[in-house]
């Protein structure tokens, strides 16, 4: 657990997340890619201890995480906020089966978003998760990412909860295609 408790923030918060996932023995990393998760996904792909699983839709990640837990392994689901909408019914499995579930969500439609299409699900994300009984952790400051993901992981796998960490857009940075509207 040294990686998870070290006080020194490392260079990149995505590397902090990788360290925490590794320290907590996360073995299956399910994802529908998001630019905000790209560096973390690459890290996980290079890890010998982790298996990365690209999904066709985010709800597969919930089913896989449930199956992994049945088989004695820990999984995590990496997705962007728009993906949360694809998971809703299967999120119910976390409550019904009461299995530990961890998801790390890169937020869009949140802080200075330029793409109007991201707002509805981005703004709906916390409400949907809450409605489904998922605990919310939120982080917008790079220095707090390590401690937040560590606490969320403990709540999930030690406390038996369904937990989401919202990686706020303020943390990730505003995506901008640099285009000017006419």
């Amino acid at each position: 657990m040294n990686a998870a408790t070290s006080a020194e923030p490392s260079v990149d918060w995505r590397d902090d997340i990788f360290d925490v996932l590794q320290a907590h023995d996360i073995r299956q990393v399910c994802h529908v890619p998001d630019a905000g998760h790209a560096r973390l996904i690459e890290h996980c792909q290079r890890s010998n201890a982790m298996r990365t699983i690209a999904l066709t839709t985010e709800e597969e990640g919930i089913a896989i995480a449930a199956g992994a837990w049945l088989g004695g392994q820990r999984a995590v689901l990496l997705m962007q906020s728009s993906g949360v909408g694809n998971t809703i019914n299967l999120l119910g499995l976390a409550k019904t089966l009461r299995f530990p579930f961890l998801t790390l969500i890169t937020m869009r439609g949140d802080w200075g978003e330029f793409n109007s299409w991201q707002y509805p699900m981005g703004q709906g994300t916390p409400k949907v998760l809450e409605a489904m009984g998922v605990l919310l952790y939120s982080v917008d400051n790079a220095a707090e990412v390590r401690a937040t993901v560590d606490a969320a992981t403990r709540a999930a796998f030690n406390g038996g909860q369904a937990v989401a960490v919202l990686l706020r857009q303020k943390l990730i940075g505003i995506k901008d295609f640099g285009n000017k509207k006419a």
């Binding site: 999904l55 709800e59 896989i64 995480a65 199956g67 004695g72 019914n89 499995l93």
Partner: protein, 204 residues
């Protein structure tokens, strides 16, 4: 009508005969759950009462976590149609210990026998079927070992393939539309999960 002659209950019983600690079974909601339970309520079954579209993903996560065990997913065509993408995800991971059997009655049986997309196209209402070929979809997704079984004479081979052939193995079995008795396992999901883990891992 598909003209199917296989009956799902005796078929599932035959597939699961002699199931030991090496066989982990996920059953999809509805008829598949009752079929698997009729064959015997085992702790190493995970029969679903909801979570439509989840069985294949669940089987995949389980197969990856338990590479030394055989994982068998048994589910309906309606359930499979809700998670076709998961077949591509399985193909990408190539778990050699995973087998999937779809009991294809060409109906959403549990909800009143409405035609699913696997029903043949005919001149009836526009939602009377599309002739969707699930085995072809699985192949197209990258699961090379995918086939459809219709004949009783093919069942012994089906059993061997599902239980022992290196996977991923995908089989569609065309079965009759029948009205069958509900044979129900415990309903509490947390209990089903805990007893499964207890039997498999020695702790809940």
């Amino acid at each position: 009508m598909s003209g199917a002659t296989l009956q799902r209950r005796p078929l599932v019983k035959q597939i699961l005969v002699g199931a030991d600690d090496n066989l982990l079974v996920i059953a999809g909601l509805g008829s598949s759950n009752w079929d698997v339970t009729e064959a015997g309520d085992r702790t190493l079954n995970m029969p679903l009462w909801g979570g439509m579209g989840a069985p294949v993903g669940m089987g995949l996560g389980l197969a990856l976590a338990q590479p030394a065990k055989r994982v068998l997913v048994i589910t309906g065509d309606g359930d499979m149609l809700m998670s076709l993408g998961s077949l591509a995800t399985v193909a990408a991971q190539q778990p050699d210990n995973l087998a999937i059997m779809v009991l294809d009655n060409e109906k959403f049986g549990e909800t009143g026998n409405q035609a699913t997309h696997t029903s043949p196209r005919n001149n009836g209402p526009t939602d009377s079927g599309a002739g969707t070929d699930l085995a072809l979809i699985a192949k197209g997704c990258g699961i090379a070992d995918a086939a459809t079984v219709r004949e009783a004479s093919d069942v012994p081979q089906l059993l061997r393939h599902l239980r022992t052939k290196p996977g991923p193995v995908f089989r569609v079995v065309k079965v009759m539309v029948e009205k069958l008795e509900f044979v129900m396992p415990p309903q509490d999901g947390a209990h089903l999960k805990d007893r499964f883990r207890q039997a498999l891992l020695g702790h809940p």
